[in-house]
């Protein structure tokens, strides 16, 4: 049972003390920008129910995760060097500016405190910028006699908000 002292469980302690790795440096910022599509549009629909490409150790859950994500290992010298180079990488700067613009922050392209704080906000995991969904034209994936599943969908067009300039 999770530890709590208030009758309404409002002070529920989380069992696992597993915290998401905060965004602290350009490297983790780059992972963030990549995950949410600011470096390259994400084909989000591809991510559902893909078979995991490595053995499923979910029952191990926390200790394995820490190791795998590699944040806990001491930072090597060249990682620092890489961070500095990232700060001047045009692609990184452009992605940062896009993020700052969408987040209503001053568009500086600089990985400043306000940007860091915005990146660490609780948020939805769906990317902000998705790749255009491939257009399975009716004649090669669906034919008229196909039984419609209960989830018929129609596309009404591309979302201009996610179009990259």
């Amino acid at each position: 049972e999770r530890l709590f002292h208030q009758r309404d469980h409002s002070d529920l302690q989380s069992l696992n003390q597993h915290q998401a790795q905060p965004i602290t440096d350009p490297h983790t910022a780059e992972l963030f920008l990549s995950k949410y599509g600011f470096l390259k549009p994400v084909n989000w629909e591809e991510f559902l129910h893909e078979e995991p490409d490595e053995p499923d150790f979910s029952f191990l859950e926390f200790s394995e995760l820490n190791i795998e994500e590699g944040f806990a290992t001491p930072r090597s010298r060249d990682a620092n060097l890489q961070n500095d180079q990232k700060l001047h990488d045009p692609q990184f700067i452009t992605a940062l500016r896009d993020f700052q613009r969408l987040s209503g922050l001053p568009v500086t392209g600089v990985f400043d405190e306000a940007t860091k704080k915005a990146m660490n906000q609780p948020r939805c995991g769906v990317p902000d910028i998705e790749a255009e969904i491939a257009d399975p034209s009716p004649n090669n994936t669906t034919d008229k006699n196909m039984d419609q599943t209960s989830s018929e969908v129609t596309e009404t067009g591309r979302n201009p908000a996610v179009r990259r300039r």
Partner: protein, 423 residues
């Protein structure tokens, strides 16, 4: 992927220009389920299901979609599956990151995953991450909305804890309606209910609210906000005690120097409503018991009626049935001489082809618009007012201006699925 590809069919919505959003269900009733293996360990199962029922209802209140919680059908018949998990979860390739940052994700075909490492709380808990707010956001994705980087949008990617109560705002409503269209439908009656209230200083003030009734439920319409009250529709018996459960045919407010009576009509009977006690009279101050037969209270008027409206200018109640109009004089207690007459002659069209002809749904005098409207199906006609005729003297008396769609003047009057009516 194969399943995904076979499940997806694409049809470009005809006549719709491209708007916000990219994919939409072409089904209007969607089934959802909180997956048994994916219950949260932080809230009781009932709390979780209640929050999700409310979240789906909030979308249903602003677009033509209806949602049913389906805990029995085979899983492939369930359109939207929700579940909680931590780290690697529910066969999903996207691993959750633990407490902080990513709290949930969703896909347009219907899967929503919540990170159970987050501190999710019930509505109005005032702390933690509101599961209701996150659920409404993720359902927005399932329905086809992307992230919308607009302050106040429920589809903003980041969670803003300081917003205590939140609703689907105007722009988000337009976004989802751009995918699914606006809410259309017929109404049994539409009326402005006027009542006296006493201010804290003891002054008597007269207030009114606009109501739309459809079968056994109703909406309060907030004219100044161009939308229905948050949380409507509600069931008729919860707000109008004593009225027939299945709804009414007409509402009439006889408001003159000598009389201030509110009546509801249904079938062959009518009730008088006690606006002070907010319920129907069983026996009114004059000793009359209700319900009464329409033929007794309004001799010469047939029943059931289609609708009725009181005209303060001539003191008549205009009863409508079929293609005929029966003006009933409240003072002389009888149908006016020379009536009934055809609707078309009493309310002549400006354009001969643009007229409701018969079987009106509602006749509604709006104090907000200071105009009389005739409703039929999803259209309405405004009766040319005196002011209008002063501007355009050639207009015949009570002529009907060109018809318009109800949902283009009164917005977002949407059904919810009966199973979520009681939320």
């Amino acid at each position: 992927k194969r399943h995904l590809a076979t499940a997806v069919s694409k049809r470009r919505r005809s006549g719709r220009d491209v708007g916000v959003g990219y994919m939409a269900f072409s089904k209007t009733v969607l089934r959802w389920r909180l997956i048994g293996e994916g219950y949260s360990s932080q809230l009781s199962v009932e709390e979780q299901r209640y929050v999700f029922r409310l979240a789906f209802r909030m979308w249903s209140e602003v677009c033509p979609l209806e949602f049913i919680e389906d805990t029995a059908s085979p899983l492939e018949e369930v359109d939207i599956r929700l579940g909680f998990g931590t780290g690697r979860h529910l066969g999903c390739k996207q691993r959750f990151d633990g407490s902080g940052r990513e709290f949930a994700h969703a896909w347009f075909l219907g899967d929503i995953h919540f990170d159970d490492d987050e501190h999710f709380t019930g509505p109005n808990a005032g702390k933690g991450i509101s599961l209701l707010k996150v659920a409404v956001h993720e359902i927005g994705h399932v329905l086809g909305l992307p992230h919308i980087h607009r302050p106040g949008s429920i589809m903003q990617p980041s969670y803003l804890p300081h917003e205590s109560s939140f609703e689907v705002d105007w722009m988000d409503r337009k976004a989802i309606q751009d995918l699914y269209g606006g809410c259309r439908g017929r109404f049994n009656t539409v009326f402005d209910w006027i009542r006296r209230e006493r201010t804290s200083f003891g002054e008597v003030v007269i207030r009114f609210n606009t109501y739309f009734m459809r079968q056994g439920w109703y909406w309060l319409y907030e004219n100044r906000n161009n939308r229905t009250r948050y949380g409507d529709p509600v069931s008729l018996q919860s707000g109008w005690r004593g009225l027939p459960l299945g709804g009414v045919d007409a509402f009439v407010h006889v408001w003159s120097r000598t009389s201030d009576h509110v009546y509801f009509f249904k079938g062959s009977q009518f009730w008088r409503y006690d606006s002070d006690q907010d319920q129907v009279f069983r026996r009114d101050p004059e000793g009359v018991t209700y319900p009464r037969l329409i033929s007794e209270g309004f001799p010469g008027v047939p029943s059931p009626i289609d609708t009725a409206v009181f005209d303060r200018r001539d003191g008549n109640i205009y009863f409508f049935k079929g293609a005929l109009v029966y003006p009933f004089s409240v003072d002389s207690r009888r149908v006016a001489r020379g009536y009934p007459r055809p609707l078309r002659s009493v309310f002549p069209p400006l354009d001969p082809r643009d007229h409701p002809e018969s079987h009106l749904d509602a006749a509604y005098f709006s104090y907000s618009h200071n105009a009389l409207f005739l409703f039929k199906d999803t259209s309405f006609w405004q009766v040319a007012s005196v002011r209008e005729r002063r501007r355009r003297p050639h207009l015949p008396k009570n002529s009907l201006l060109p018809q318009r769609q109800i949902h283009e003047q009164w917005f977002d009057i949407c059904n919810v699925h009966p199973t979520s009516l009681k939320l």
